[in-house]
């Protein structure tokens, strides 16, 4: 709410600077959006008196004005159609700064000297939504008694300071001057001079003869009251009232409407004024709208109502969308002479929902949503009726017609001093606590350390002990609270084994050169389904997504990483090596929620190490990706054997360059090059990926760490080169070598792979070093030769092989 500092000063003797007051409000009551003066950034804007006007000799829409600006009279060329001699106007003198940071200079307009500019409100910083419509086409006229040469700011309320508060949902009471005055009075311990204007029912007619109100469902409108003001004239409001409104961000319209808005600001009580004569019937009610019931609101929008909307009716015909916006047909116009004025409380939830449904968030609906002070419904109605009668020259009829009225709720809460100090950590005395409640206007009764507090209805957010504790804490001041730390528990702080392993997994992959990416978990249905380690059912779908790009929960991390690669490649970043650790979501038909699996995935494309004077570039390939996965899995020290098994069937993967990864007999992931067609779809180059179901790695049995004696005895090695059929795999050869290697074979190292021109077609050469060692003694050449020959014989026997 935009709170006027000058208006506050009418009710409180405050002498702190507005900025300091705002800081105090922020620390004690509600957040502050901004503190500003309407005149910020403006200067040299003075009152001018238009002494005479003559048409511009060279233009049919410009006027030459002789304007008295205090000391002397200057000529100003003005383009406004409403400029007329004898009016007081806003003059921007040469050197002035007006809205949008525009500087005004002495100039010539079509050959005529212009020593400044006559301004409309919009030109001195007023928003289009706030400046009164009546002056839309021209300049603004100041009151006739304004003194030429004086600054215009005080005349327009622009010397005020506005404290724009950001009100939390619980503090609906702060949507009014009254609420602000009460809270400020409490925290500064000031006396409030808040003034209430009484009504003078100066018409002889009885309101109840003019309208009847029957609220069938008091749930919809727990309180509904109405008054009638007759014989009024609708006209422009006095300037002081317009200032109050525009400084609060509300456009002045006419005396009747402006009064309702003024009362809304002052009491937080939204009012609605109907043109009495135009009410289709004089029996007022409140009901749910009918499904698709048509209704034209004030903004001339023809709406289809919802059966959960609430409407105010006259003879069952809707005349207002309750608490949200009035109807066009019964709106106040210049011809209105009689006003039916409504002051009510509508159901907050229904108002909130209908405001959302119709996208009609108004000053009224905002207040109904957060609650309205039940203490001042009638006060506000009376004061508004009185002001409308005064400003419109009319009469208030006798009595209020009440359709419903809810009793005031004033909770009584018992609180003990020890409880207060126990929860807040303070050492307050009873007197201090009672003083805080006194200042807030809460009544107290003391019995030893027991304090019984009665909360006034105007603070409907305070209902339980914890609410009172908050009141004490904030008025006492959070700054005055000491700082301590919670008692120690017997818990030793540590990550769980699972959390530690996940963290280690990340660190290992980072050590291997992959940067951690965090991608979106929600993606398209197509991407959510791609690259699954194990094919699952359909992905989890959002009920009501926001964008086509995020409709389903991912079932693999790879598609997100490929999207990241595409993003990089589109930005000329061709060398991308990323990993991601995160959840995938697997739906099960018999479960309400999906299973959330931690996965680990990586993506590699481009050069592994950038080309540099010292190293040659190296384009990533399958074996780089595999090396990373192997290293990672070695670090994870799984007891079971890891194997890579070629899989030609994965739809999104290159059929000849993809392997499934097994832990023992369990499929735990896969690795490979993505299918060139998929790469094309993603708009990325040749890319290698891997994905592992981290849950399986976390759950797998780990090797226990122990030291293996390093043999003191020398190792002996033998090299063997095998010319093989192209289809023979390294795994097959290794298995054969290990099978016949004997007890002393400690290592088999593949040192060369060759396929190409020097070999017969469909042949390849694999070369291995076999290392033999005994931990108990020195091996002899004969022992080694014997073992090695067994291997050679076996290989010759098993494979179509030529030993070279």
């Amino acid at each position: 709410m935009k709170v006027s500092y000058q208006w506050l000063q009418e009710y409180l003797d405050i002498d702190v600077k507005p900025a300091d007051l705002a800081e105090k409000i922020a620390r004690t009551s509600v957040d502050i959006n901004d503190v500003y003066s309407p005149s910020d950034g403006l200067k040299k804007l003075v009152v001018g008196y238009v002494e005479s006007t003559t048409p511009h000799p060279d233009s049919d829409h410009l006027t030459l004005c002789q304007v008295n600006t205090g000391e002397d009279t200057v000529q100003i060329v003005c383009g406004a159609p409403n400029v007329v001699a004898g009016k007081k106007v806003i003059v921007a003198l040469p050197g002035a700064r007006i809205g949008n940071n525009i500087k005004i200079k002495r100039s010539k307009m079509r050959g005529e000297l212009s020593e400044g500019m006559l301004c409309a409100l919009q030109e001195i910083g007023f928003s289009e939504n706030i400046a009164p419509k009546a002056y839309d086409e021209g300049i603004w006229f100041l009151p006739d008694d304004a003194k030429p040469g004086e600054s215009v700011f005080p005349y327009l309320g622009m010397d005020d300071t506005i404290i724009d508060t950001d009100i939390t949902p619980n503090r609906g009471d702060m949507f009014s001057m009254l609420g602000n005055v009460n809270d400020i009075a409490a925290f500064y311990d000031l006396k409030s001079h808040f003034k209430v204007q009484k009504v003078n029912e100066n018409s002889s007619q009885l309101t109840s003869d003019l309208v009847a109100v029957n609220i069938a469902d008091t749930q919809l409108a727990p309180t509904y009251k109405m008054r009638v003001i007759q014989d009024i004239q609708v006209k422009e409001s006095p300037l002081w009232l317009q200032i109050r409104l525009w400084n609060a961000g509300i456009r002045p319209i006419s005396n009747v409407v402006d009064v309702t808005n003024y009362i809304l600001l002052k009491y937080g009580q939204p009012l609605h004024s109907f043109d009495y004569a135009k009410l289709p019937a004089k029996q007022i009610g409140v009901r749910f709208a009918k499904h698709e019931e048509p209704f034209v609101t004030l903004d001339e929008d023809e709406r289809q109502l919802d059966s959960q909307d609430i409407v105010v009716t006259a003879g069952d015909k809707p005349v207002a969308l309750a608490g949200t916006m009035g109807g066009l047909e019964t709106a106040i116009s210049n011809d209105t002479t009689s006003v039916a004025l409504e002051a009510a409380i509508f159901d907050p939830i229904l108002v909130r929902k209908q405001a959302r449904r119709h996208d009609l968030h108004s000053e009224s609906s905002t207040r109904f949503e957060r609650g309205v002070n039940p203490e001042t419904v009638e006060t506000a109605l009376n004061e508004a009726a009185q002001m409308i009668a005064e400003l419109g020259g009319g009469a208030v009829t006798k009595g209020i017609v009440t359709g419903s009225e809810r009793d005031l709720i004033t909770p009584t809460i018992v609180l003990s001093l020890s409880r207060i100090n126990h929860v807040l950590g303070t050492t307050l005395y009873v007197e201090e606590v009672v003083d805080i409640f006194d200042r807030l206007g809460f009544t107290t009764a003391i019995d030893g350390e027991q304090i019984t507090v009665t909360v006034p209805a105007r603070r409907w957010d305070v209902n339980i002990e914890a609410d009172l504790l908050e009141e004490i804490a904030r008025i006492y001041g959070y700054d005055n609270l000491p700082s301590t730390l919670p008692e120690q528990s017997s818990n030793i702080g540590a990550l769980t084994e699972r959390q530690q392993l996940i963290r280690t997994s990340r660190h290992v992959l980072e050590g291997l050169g992959l940067n951690q990416a965090i991608s979106y978990s929600l993606t398209t249905t197509e991407k959510a389904t791609q690259f699954q380690v194990e094919p699952h059912s359909n992905p989890m779908q959002l009920d009501y997504p926001m964008s086509q790009d995020h409709v389903a929960a991912r079932m693999s991390l790879i598609s997100g990483l490929l999207t990241d690669v595409a993003y990089n490649v589109a930005r000329k970043q061709k060398d991308v090596q990323l990993y991601e650790q995160g959840r995938i979501f697997v739906t099960h038909p018999d479960q309400k929620r999906p299973e959330e699996q931690e996965h680990l995935a990586g993506v590699l494309t481009g050069e592994l190490l950038t080309d540099n004077w010292h190293q040659t570039e190296h384009h990533v390939d399958f074996y780089d990706a595999k090396g990373i996965v192997e290293r990672y899995l070695t670090n994870m020290a799984l007891q079971q054997k890891i194997s890579f098994v070629a899989n030609h069937e994965r739809k999104e993967m290159h059929p000849g360059r993809t392997a499934d990864i097994y832990i023992g007999e369990t499929l735990a992931g896969f690795i490979g090059q993505i299918h060139p067609q998929v790469a094309k779809d993603y708009k990325i180059p040749e890319t290698y990926v891997f994905e592992l179901n981290l849950e399986l790695i976390l759950a797998a049995a780990k090797k226990s760490r122990h030291y293996q004696l390093i043999s003191k005895y020398p190792a002996i090695s033998r090299d063997i080169a095998l010319l093989l059929d192209e289809g023979t795999t390294n795994d097959e050869i290794l298995a054969a070598i290990n099978k016949k290697g004997g007890a002393h074979l400690v290592n088999v190292h593949l040192f060369d792979v060759y396929e190409g021109a020097h070999l017969p077609a469909n042949k390849k050469s694999l070369a291995y070093t076999l290392t033999y060692q005994d931990s108990q003694g020195t091996l002899t050449e004969d022992q080694v030769n014997e073992s090695f020959d067994k291997v050679v014989d076996y290989l010759t026997d098993q494979f179509n092989v030529e030993i070279r």
């Binding site: 950590g425 904030r474 008692e487 940067n515 978990s521 995020h550 995160g582």
Partner: protein, 348 residues
């Protein structure tokens, strides 16, 4: 010429030869020639038998002195030449040390992960346990158990991705409050937990909004947990992340699951409180929300609010990272531009 004169001349000539040598081979030659078995000194000493018994030891001593002198001169020259040779070799081996070193690939943790890990480590040090919750939650835990019944206005502030009427993408990490309270054995002392993770809101992505972001939830529930404990804890967090010269300010706020509720601000680290565009001229930056756990929340989780109480807080690593490093677009965190990811490589 007497033997003494002869020896003296040998010395003069020898020293001259040594001095003029330019390489190690020559020095070697001189050593062999002068000091060898067939060298002139040995030769001269052989002539001593012609001398008197009186003179013999004197000349012998003199000859030894000359031999020692020459030996010293040769060794010193040799050392000098060897050093020169090494120096020449080293000079030849000189490289441009300003050329860049070999590229070594090293990946970095994501900046949000870094902030989460920093917080996790901080709280572990204070005896907290880390509780990781599900990203797909029940409405019951995400809202109801947090004192947010259906139709509560605060639900509007958290536009939610629903999967079914009962299941949703969690909008906050707070569901772990109820889940942990239900699990905790309070006879073993207070519950102290933090819960980091991803959360989701039904938002349109732009520079300041993301439908996916992170939160870290914290909660302490025990018999003697006070609001001053909350204040002290928030100060530790803010100062750990942003520096301990910054002040912390608490101000009232509203969350349905805490009462009293507060928002914690820190002194703007950019202007140190003077006011600037980052802090919108307030001198303060909002960093987290917190409060004393609402009795309804305790009660619903089966904890007696008359006996137990405590606090909860929630903070946003994305927002922290944006503030701390001046990241202007939240989407940068999830698009994973390598130039973005590799910037946060400081380990110290």
């Amino acid at each position: 010429m007497g033997l003494r004169e002869k020896l003296d001349e040998l010395r003069q000539q020898g020293l001259k030869d040594v001095d003029s040598s330019q390489d190690l081979d020559r020095i070697n030659d001189i050593r062999v020639k002068l000091l060898g078995k067939k060298g002139p000194i040995k030769e001269a000493l052989r002539g001593m038998r012609d001398l008197s018994a009186e003179e013999r030891p004197k000349i012998g001593q003199f000859a030894n002195e000359i031999r020692d002198d020459l030996t010293r001169a040769i060794e010193s020259k040799r050392a000098e030449l060897e050093q020169a040779k090494i120096n020449a070799q080293l000079a030849k081996e000189t490289i441009d040390v300003t050329l860049p070193g070999s590229a070594v690939s090293q990946g970095q943790p994501h900046v949000i992960q870094q902030i989460i890990d920093q917080l996790v480590d901080l709280f572990i040090g204070m005896g907290y346990e880390v509780a990781v919750g599900d990203e797909v939650e029940e409405d019951h835990y995400n809202f109801e158990m947090l004192n947010l019944p259906k139709d509560h206005p605060a639900r509007d502030m958290q536009d939610t991705f629903y999967v079914t009427p009962e299941v949703l993408m969690r909008t906050q990490t707070s569901p772990m409050q109820a889940r942990m309270m239900e699990k905790h054995d309070f006879s073993k002392g207070p519950l102290k937990m933090i819960s980091p993770g991803k959360v989701y809101r039904r938002d349109t992505d732009d520079a300041t909004h993301s439908h996916q972001f992170h939160q870290v939830e914290g909660m302490v529930i025990g018999k003697h947990i006070t609001m001053t404990d909350l204040k002290g804890t928030l100060e530790v967090v803010a100062q750990e992340l942003f520096g301990d010269e910054l002040k912390v300010r608490l101000r009232p706020s509203y969350f349905p699951f805490t009462e009293p509720s507060v928002e914690a601000d820190i002194t703007c680290f950019n202007c140190l409180g003077k006011g600037c565009s980052i802090c919108k001229n307030t001198g303060w930056i909002e960093v987290l929300g917190a409060g004393m756990t609402h009795p309804n929340v305790l009660r619903m989780a089966g904890v007696d609010p008359d006996v137990y109480g405590g606090f909860a807080f929630g903070l946003g690593p994305d927002r922290f990272a944006m503030l701390k490093y001046g990241v202007e677009d939240i989407r940068d965190f999830y698009q994973n531009d390598v130039r973005f990811l590799t910037q946060f490589d400081q380990k110290g």
